[in-house]
């Protein structure tokens, strides 16, 4: 099994990126503006692609290089730009009012989930001194935070971002835990992600339009 030691340069860089990704997930959980959600998600994806690049360099794996570039291009640039153009600007989304708990409550819950992630993954699973031992709990925490964001927020766009954060968490775990994951599978996962985002964007805008036109119809009925 190829695995990086925690003290190598690549290991330290991966560890650092993991921490940054977790912090950005927290930042997303703590904000209330749609613009910020997308910005934090984009930043998280850029850090993730950096991490993938580090892993690619350390393992000397050309497939991982391709993945790192694809992550940067699709998750770091294309999806945030598309979300901004197609969803936020077109639907005129600004503040997210559909939160089912206050921000402080969700942050505390996020802290608890992070602790839980360490509790579950650290002791039994991984040998000491490997960078995965440090990063896997982080990625588990990112997965849980993304899921929490989906639960706490009721707006469809916010839920979509939550799902994308979960996806980032899984990807972070994948590149540190199992850098030798079959490439065809990773490519498939990527394609699924893109298709998923496309379909969801269609549903979100359709749903919003449908609801908007329904309420506009009500207004016309009352005129006569």
């Amino acid at each position: 099994m190829q695995s990086l030691s925690a003290t190598s340069v690549a290991g330290v860089l991966l560890d650092l990126s993991g921490v940054l990704i977790l912090l950005l997930a927290f930042a997303c959980l703590a904000s209330k503006l749609f613009n910020r959600y997308v910005a934090y998600y984009g930043a998280q994806s850029v850090v993730l692609s950096f991490a993938a690049g580090v892993a690619a360099y350390a393992f000397r794996s050309p497939e991982l290089w391709i993945l790192a570039i694809a992550t940067l291009a699709i998750k770091g640039i294309a999806i945030p730009v598309a979300a901004r153009r197609l969803l936020i600007r077109r639907l005129e989304l600004k503040r997210d009012a559909a939160l089912s708990t206050g921000l402080s409550t969700s942050l505390i819950a996020g802290g608890a989930l992070t602790a839980f992630a360490y509790l579950v993954t650290r002791p039994q699973l991984l040998p000491h001194g490997v960078v995965a031992a440090a990063v896997v709990p982080l990625s588990t925490a990112v997965i849980l935070l993304g899921a929490l964001a989906m639960v706490v927020r009721r707006h469809t766009v916010a839920q979509l971002i939550g799902w994308l954060i979960v996806e980032n968490g899984v990807f972070l775990g994948a590149i540190t835990l199992v850098a030798t994951f079959p490439f065809i599978v990773e490519a498939g996962i990527f394609l699924d992600l893109v298709a998923g985002v496309l379909i969801m964007v269609v549903f979100v805008s359709g749903l919003t339009r449908e609801l908007a036109s329904a309420s506009a119809g009500d207004l016309r009925e009352l005129q006569g």
């Binding site: 699973l125 997965i143 979960v166 775990g173 835990l177 199992v178 599978v185 996962i189 379909i199």
Partner: protein, 496 residues
């Protein structure tokens, strides 16, 4: 043999291709049905040809079909054929009535074929990573079917479906990663470390802590697709809002595909961790699903929701059967999978006919189907009894086997509890469907006798699948063909 496997996957695409090249809706429907026939024939051929041979394996394990895969292929192709034929009548009636545009009908056939083909492909791969990719892709294809009608309700259902299922399947991906990691002590090439037969053969050498987590995550993740409680919340909405033949596909094909993925993980977990941990996990999720399914069936309302909760219940029963384990439990689980798939497809297709005639999906708005449309009424009534597991239908036999497995392999409290829940389900479900079938057709129902189908041929496409399906479930209740018995035993042998 590889050609046959490819043919099975390619069959349903006939409808997709025809619709994509601009053929009219009904023509695409016939093409899809013809493709489904090809798939079914190929699946039966593969099943009989594979029976006494080693599993079919090619392209480094990315293609892998053993008896278990063959059995599921047979189940899914059967359901696909029933639903594809049922689609022709239903969709053209909807188009005739102006509720769907011709573009929407074509869209339906495009995604119907894609959905079926992706599910069949996921049953043919031995690579657990590719399994994830195909199952997620089938989610996306079916989401388009759920949201087809484009109303606020169906869009919301589709949204809920796609977001919950995608999250679930992402969790299953995390499980797959941990499984891959647990194999890191083995000296296999990376491709093979995700290939099921190798993992199964070396299950004892996998790292237990990581394998345990992998199994749990896989059950939760794929359980979302199966509709195991508490991850079932998308299921009633999606089933209620999708066009009825698509609901049949969701309930009878998609849920089984998810269960197939769980069975693959279960086999590895059982071999690597021993019996007790997987058993507890499956029994907990199974009983929770049966309980929740039954409780929500008590509420009267949308009859397609009722059928959907019944699917939750039945998937719970299959999970319980897998949890009981042993020869009886596995046999019961597989037999129940086949029985439930056919019976539920029949019920959803007949519910489509009812919805077309009565223009409602609320049970309270429907009465006297037996008088107004004798055939549909009879199918609805008999189909409900079949789904509820009353003799002489096949589900009685499989549920009986499962309960026997419970008495043999677990404490007697569990099978007794299961029997109690089944009794409640019987009352709740039959109360609603009997109310729909009997009584006098009143109000708009008087017009229900007028056929919504434009021609005799279309009426036939609505009637034939339900009658054939119901007959099949009836036959399976009194007689299990020797061939099927052999297939079931061979499929179980894969897992033991």
């Amino acid at each position: 043999m590889i050609g046959l496997a490819a043919l099975i996957v390619a069959g349903p695409l006939a409808g997709t291709v025809t619709a994509a090249f601009g053929a009219r809706g009904s023509r695409a429907g016939w093409a899809g049905a013809a493709g489904a026939v090809v798939s079914l024939v190929a699946a039966v051929w593969l099943l009989t040809g594979q029976l006494h041979r080693p599993p079919l394996e090619a392209i480094g394990g990315f293609l892998y079909v053993d008896s278990l895969g063959c059995f599921f292929l047979f189940t899914v192709t059967t359901v696909t054929l029933l639903a594809a034929v049922g689609s022709i009548g239903y969709l053209s009636a909807e188009e005739e009535a102006g509720r769907l545009s011709s573009f929407q009908v074509r869209l339906y056939y495009i995604f119907f074929g894609l959905f079926a083909s992706l599910m069949l492909a996921s049953l043919e791969t031995g690579n657990l990573g590719l399994l994830f990719v195909l199952i997620e892709a089938s989610t996306l294809a079916s989401a388009a079917l759920v949201g087809l009608e484009g109303k606020a309700g169906s869009l919301e259902a589709a949204w809920k479906y796609v977001i919950i299922s995608s999250l679930g399947v992402t969790i299953a991906l995390a499980g797959t990663l941990f499984l891959f990691y647990s194999a890191s002590a083995l000296h296999l090439a990376p491709d093979l470390r995700l290939t099921w037969p190798y993992l199964f053969a070396h299950a004892h050498a996998l790292v237990p802590a990581s394998l345990r987590l992998a199994f749990l995550l896989a059950v939760v993740g794929y359980g979302t697709k199966v509709g195991l409680a508490p991850m079932h919340t998308w299921l009633p909405d999606a089933h209620a809002e999708a066009p009825s033949p698509a609901s049949a596909m969701l309930s009878a094909a998609l849920l089984n595909t998810g269960m197939y993925a769980i069975i693959r993980f279960l086999a590895i977990a059982r071999a690597g961790l021993g019996d007790s941990f997987p058993r507890v996990v499956l029994l907990v999720f199974g009983f929770l699903s049966v309980t929740i399914g039954v409780l929500f069936m008590v509420r009267r309302g949308n009859f397609k929701r009722l059928f959907a909760y019944s699917s939750v219940e039945h998937m719970g029963i299959i999970a319980v059967a897998l949890g009981f384990g042993g020869v009886l439990g596995l046999y019961g689980a597989l037999l129940h999978t086949l029985n439930h798939a056919i019976a539920k497809a029949v019920l959803f297709l007949s519910s489509g006919d009812v919805a077309l005639r009565y223009r409602t999906r609320e049970a309270a708005g429907v009465s006297g189907v037996l008088t107004a449309v004798p055939l549909t009424g009879a199918v609805l009534l008999l189909g409900s009894f079949a789904v509820l597991g009353s003799p002489p239908f096949g589900l009685f036999l499989s549920e009986f086997t499962i309960v026997r497995a419970g008495f043999a392999n677990a404490s007697p409290v569990l099978p007794l509890f299961l029997l109690g829940l089944l009794a409640v389900a019987f009352i709740a479900f039959a109360r609603t469907t009997a109310g729909m079938a009997t009584g006098e057709p009143a109000g708009p129902a008087a017009a229900a006798a007028a056929s919504p189908y434009a021609s005799r041929l279309l009426t036939l496409t609505a009637a034939v699948p339900v009658v054939v399906g119901l007959t099949a479930v009836l036959v399976l209740g009194v007689w299990i063909p020797a061939g099927l018995d052999t297939v079931l035993r061979h499929s179980m042998a894969v897992l033991l």
